[in-house]
Amino acid sequence: MKLFEISVVHGLFPITLLMLLQCAPDAPFKFANSTLPEKLNDGWEIASPEEVGLSRSALDRVYSNFVSEDKYYNAISLLVVKSGTLVFETYCRDLSDRDHYSHIQSVTKSVTSLACGAALSAGYIDSLDQSLYSVFPDKFPADAEKRIVTFRHLLTMTSGISFDNDDFSVELYVDRPRDPIAYILSKPLCANPGARFYYRDCDPHLISYALQRLTGMSEERWVKTRIFDPLGITDYYWDKDHTGVTMGAHGLHLRPRDLAKIGQLALDHGRWQGAQVIDSTWIVMSTQFQTQTDWQTEPHVYDYGYYWWVLPRRQAFTAWGHGGNFIFVSAQKEMVIVMTSLPDVDDDVVGTKLDDFEALISPLLED
């Protein structure tokens, strides 16, 4: 009996050790899936890389980095369109990601830019120097300092409204002020309008509300009518604030192939399959240098157009969403590269900034 007790008591020791060493086993989270696009009835023509003169070895180098579990941790998809045809498409986490939309974060802003261009060419906006006050004076506070804010200020992130992006998300989604537009406009100015670039989500949200007031429909409805329908984009979700105003800065969920359509639209100066969807002048204006930004990673200083990031050294521009969501458009290479990623990662930890993305696709740009 004594032996039994001893064995029970002593048996607890190895059990304790085993339990303390416990952990859930890791599983692979990236897979080397097919890179050949499948022909679907979605408006995309398919070709092999060789058919459009794209280097297979350059693509292989990009792909091996993309599927590595030690880089681009949160990546979901990578697509390459060359000369208007889809030549490379891969989904490293789950093949079903091809058919499911995901949050593209601030890539939404570039779609808001297209929406603004459509409203300008349709005559709803007089000019980019039209003041917001002339559109919705009822939302402005009594003091006059913000009445000079124009569409151009908002499109170049130079409104000067002091509203940090983290605070914007928390206050609009969580605290839910009674009138979000009036609430944004009640914030103080940290610089005179037009004086300085501050990357702010509140600026595109004001554009969205202005479009709603001018066109009589929400930005989502406006974009559906003017952009998504001509492009054949049918499966998407776009978040609204609690008063029903489409989120102009983020909140749009799109499928990777549909993001590539937006990139191709921009590359082709507003044309999609022969039809002029967005005025070409707007595409040129919005994707070229408009303002110097305060975002830089040595030695690169990023320029800004109208909600598109501009890279003159690459003769390229890009939509850039938090977490590693990109529509990269290279006019020089006649190429659109789309990457989608889990949208809510900590950029500093996981490494999904524009420089990281450029490093990934550099074999395609330099080949």
Partner: protein
Amino acid sequence: MRCRSALTHPISPCTMCKYIVLILSSLSIIQASDAQDKTTAEARASYLGICLGSGIASYREDLVVPIDFHGPGLSLGAEYTTISETSIIDIRFRFGMSFLKNRYSHQAYAVILEIRPAWIKRLSGEQGHGELWGGLSLSMKMNNLFIESWDDSHLYWLTAYGLGPSGEWHKRLSSGREIRVHFGIPVVSLVSRPPEYRYKKQEALTHLTYHLTEPNKSLMLELPDDYRAIFIKAALNRNMRHVLWNISLEFEYNYCRKPKPLYALNTALVFSYQWRI
């Protein structure tokens, strides 16, 4: 209609009802055992005290990424025990927090809130190999995960209210000292998990009540094919006249298959000190 808590996040009447049902279930277990004891007019002793634990937690949340986050944790709680010759009631409340990292040193945090009432009856008397006890336990546990590096805007969770058999093996070592090995396996559970796709950019993570209410929404009835758990505790007990204390090694495994798998393993060394009331 929604009522709002003092901390501003809404608690739906439905969620409040679930809490009430669970509290009533716990009380009914106590009441049932209490009635049983009264009929046999046994001497009973009740104890109330605190418990303090430290251990290792390990989580794999496949909704985010199927890699393990593990790290040390601390817990603090209260415990109530009623012991008679033929039955034991044990109710434990525990709050714990773990600091986790994955193989890339990405950070995450886990917060555990647990209430675990159990009632067991003696099935066999003291024999050479000890006593066997059996009964029911109701585990109510919230595992809230904030996987900061991978998703700093949303909360992930596994909330499970499980009812199932529990058992104990007691072996007396000397007067007032004994080893107890306890297990509990939920068979029928109400389980809540986050949705597979999140459409809000930012959840109310800064509101305390959000962490209590959101993981209790959308509770679904689950059987062991979708939700599995086991709780094992090996304790060395010391029962003095007015004090009951024990040191125990606890291990808990939770697995939920939907909407994507979640694995949670918790091991802790717990010290409990209770005073007779």
